[in-house]
């Protein structure tokens, strides 16, 4: 597709369960970012992948959160033992890459995660 694709668009799960969120970036984009937006808040950075470099995980809020990017394309964000405060919209973005280049990030429509 032409844009960043995220799935599922909505996810409702019980507290304590694990969830996996998927992001398929724009073809050819080497940089991939995960953010989350809690209700009434701005976007909060979670993690950043650039090519084959080690990811920048400095935004992950706890060790229950992890992400991987296989083959330099699709990324999966995993949240283990979900808590109610994890409820948010999780957004993925990508750019052509190159640290420091002035390139806007292009976002998917997000996954709305609700923890019951």
């Amino acid at each position: 597709g032409a844009g960043v694709s995220q799935s599922p668009s909505n996810k409702v799960t019980e507290k304590g369960k694990d969830v996996e969120l998927r992001c398929d970036p724009i073809s050819g984009h080497t940089a991939l970012y995960w953010y989350r937006q809690s209700l009434g808040q701005g976007l909060e950075f979670l993690i950043y992948f650039q090519g084959n470099s080690a990811p920048d995980k400095s935004g992950l809020p706890s060790d229950r959160f992890s992400a991987e990017r296989t083959g330099g394309s699709v990324s999966t964000l995993t949240i283990q033992r979900t808590q109610q405060e994890d409820s948010a919209v999780y957004l993925c973005a990508s750019t052509r890459g190159g640290q420091g280049l002035n390139q806007p990030q292009h976002f998917g429509d997000g996954t709305r995660l609700s923890i019951l």
Binding site: G42, L43, F45, F107
Partner: protein, 113 residues
Amino acid sequence: DQQVKQNSPSLSVQEGRISILNCDYTNSMFDYFLWYKKYPAEGPTFLISISSIKDKNEDGRFTVFLNKSAKHLSLHIVPSQPGDSAVYFCAARRKTSGSRLTFGEGTQLTVNP
């Protein structure tokens, strides 16, 4: 520590008039600034950006102004249209932080016909 702030949660303007959205930042290391527009249930859409070496960038109805000494940027939309009604986020990047963006809380713009 909110490094990017949008102090107005909402703004309402009449169609055809100018909309001015404001954003303040605290980190002098930010070198690239962006504005995004977001409709409900959609991801943010890139609107316009500006490098810290400039003080103005224009694209059609959208102009972004950067005042580095005041650590302030603004987005002007003229003329405003009802389809511009959305949440607008400003974002900033620090080159040494690997291109991650720091976002403001957003301003809900409503353009009334």
